[in-house]
Subunit: 406 residues, 2 copies
């Protein structure tokens, strides 16, 4: 037996040790795409990053210095699993100021990004085979996080004004889902938002079943058109779990998000949090809190929304100018993404391959679908690209799409 | 039906939604104890915290400023799931310098504390009912993290020189465990270390089975007596997963740990990491790397080891002076904990209740045992307490123990 044979036998043995659940998690297609979509001369609508030019670097540096000076030892020590209380109080207060929603800070758990919120919810609720309602197309990070716990996803199509209520009602009565995951404002990937009337109808349906609604709202503050909509929490305070994050409004690299949950659920989430990583980074929690108390977050957010709004406008106008009329697309009122729908016989994967040759990248829609293959949609990110570059890139895509028509 | 009835019905319904796994996780007894063990006049041997007086606050502040100035936008942005490459290269280099172990940086995954390493290993390997060998007494954080994935733990008694090899061999042949979790240096809670000969015997056993050995080494650098021992990696490079952390050597609040794993396992761990929280805090990874390149870590660690060594010595001497001769205790060569064994008919819980009245706290040993109740052991932490205070506190415990004898 030579070394080569011996090594492959070992590999086989390792394979046998893996858990069932890790086989169920989809590989990140976007990760692969982002590897292709790098390079200085690449126009990329593929990413999903906040614009780093808007990061409050100087202000956060000041906060680092203040925290080190005033509470250095404490800010570098282990801390509690629930999170830094002043930060949780700030979040509670902001729910009140922005949305007139009353949250007790003890019902807020600080998480390592809102992605961790999804992991903890999966741990606390999902047994293998449990039904989870998601949007179609759906947020890939949520699909990945929950897949670890082997649910059966029930995808409900998203319409222009939100999830289709009749389909939800049927899914609830037929499948008895435990959880329902929604991104009601400027959804990733579609850029669509739920209307107030759809929210009300959906809340009415959820109220009839033993079901928790997870409202993930990473983008809701980044609104550049229209009016703020109501949270599901207003109709369903005991059945709504709120996920939030500072990644889009302040700083993504600190990995600071939160979950709002009722007492009984919070107790379980804290156990899961402690098992997962003991607690969230103490220092950056304190730095962010210092930043929030020394700066005007609303003004900062307004600047982000203004920039993204101008970029979205440039993209929308360029699409109108350059895409064939058969292509429809969403009109986001905020967030970072726009969604385009090709005629069903066209291929966004083919478009992707040709676009990459011309140094333009985007994400084909296929990975955002569960249980089915859809090759005729694409996601376009506008948060990180200058309007002039957006126009150039969209023109290239428009020309390639026109070729597909012929 | 009044409101109260309606509310309790709702609570009942929530209960029905919880997953099976969350019912299996032990509540943190230590968490409860630490709540009792606060207060300025309390002498606490209950915690498990590094000494904050030794935190390099000024140096880390300098590093924060350098990172903000030089790579601010990049350090605040989302980053890759594997972790900051220069930090992984530093870790690989240090394995070589300290232990002559060659690790490729691509086989290092940065985690949100080494606690997260345990969560990711649980996700990647443990199906409900899978057997996992642990030490008895065992590290509570590992028991909690893995319990989420519903293994059957096989506890193997720890002797003065490590896990009892015969018992391990029998457990492997009878139960076919997938994983084995060991803390070979200055274990938490026992303070015991494995001798080189026990390591060799255990490696020989593990080599015969399809089994991965998880070597968790949070304390190995904090050695104040004796000689560094060999890692299991030297005998079992393809079967050993190494867990490491900067929490004890530099800064716990940054939550920075790592896993070393072979390619095939690393691929799965990265999928699990991405699902768990996308990636570890970008900023503090860069700050820590800057700190490591601008300061002498070995000198800093020597200072920590010197301080803890003096405190351990004070505790050992005070125990010899004040504890009844029936009580035996470990002689740690490093780390932060010492373990005492009472005669089996004495109660460490009773001792705890009386000690709290006298403003002295420690952790009774019961929570460190799985599948059995042991009321005659206790864990004493010495890392955070001045030698004079250690002597006072141990004297109080000695007097209370002498009362138990009578």
């Amino acid at each position: 037996m030579n070394t080569h044979t011996s090594n492959s036998e070992k590999a086989l043995l390792t394979e046998a040790l893996f858990s069932n659940r890790i086989q169920h998690v989809p590989r990140s297609f976007i990760r692969e795409i982002l590897k292709v979509a790098v390079g200085k001369d690449m126009i990329s609508f593929a990413g999903g990053l906040p614009n780093p030019q808007l990061f409050p670097v100087a202000e956060l540096q000041e906060s680092c210095n203040r925290v080190m000076l005033h509470t250095g030892q404490d800010a570098l020590q282990y801390s509690n699993s629930e999170g830094y209380l002043p930060l949780r109080e700030y979040i509670a207060q902001r729910y009140w100021q922005q949305q007139k929603i009353r949250i007790n800070p003890v019902n807020i758990l600080i998480t390592s990004g809102s992605q961790q919120g999804l992991d903890l919810l999966g741990k606390v609720f999902i047994n293998p085979g449990d039904r989870v309602v998601i949007e179609e197309p759906g947020y890939l990070g949520a699909i990945q996080a929950m897949s670890i716990f082997e649910p059966q996803f029930i995808p409900i199509p998203l319409e222009a004004d939100g999830m289709y209520p009749e389909a939800l009602n049927e899914a609830c009565s037929r499948h008895s889902p435990k959880l329902m995951y929604v991104v009601p404002d400027f959804q990733n990937p579609s850029g669509q938002s739920y209307s107030d009337s759809t929210r009300k109808r959906i809340a009415g349906i959820v109220d009839q079943y033993n079901l928790l609604l997870v409202e993930d709202n990473p983008y809701s503050d980044i609104r550049f058109a229209g009016q703020r909509k109501k949270s599901f929490y207003e109709w369903l305070p005991e059945k709504t779990l709120l996920l939030g994050t500072f990644s889009k409004t302040a700083v993504p690299g600190f990995r600071l998000g939160w979950i709002v949950a009722p007492d009984a659920i919070m107790e379980k989430l804290i156990v899961a949090k402690q098992a997962a990583d003991l607690h969230t980074n103490t220092f950056t929690q304190q730095v962010l809190f210092d930043f929030l108390t020394h700066n005007d977050l609303e003004k900062h957010i307004a600047r982000i929304a203004h920039t993204y709004g101008a970029q979205c406008q440039a993209m929308t106008t360029a699409i109108e100018d350059h895409f064939p009329a058969e292509v429809t697309f969403s009109r986001p009122e905020g967030g970072m993404f726009l969604w385009a729908q090709l005629p069903p016989e066209w291929s966004s994967k083919k478009l992707f391959d040709r676009a990459i040759e011309q140094k333009v990248a985007f994400v084909p829609g296929a990975p955002f679908y569960v249980n089915k293959f859809n090759d005729s949609t694409l996601r376009l990110n506008f948060s990180c690209t200058h309007p002039d570059t957006i126009r150039k890139g969209i023109q290239v895509l428009g020309e390639l799409l026109t070729l597909q028509r012929n």
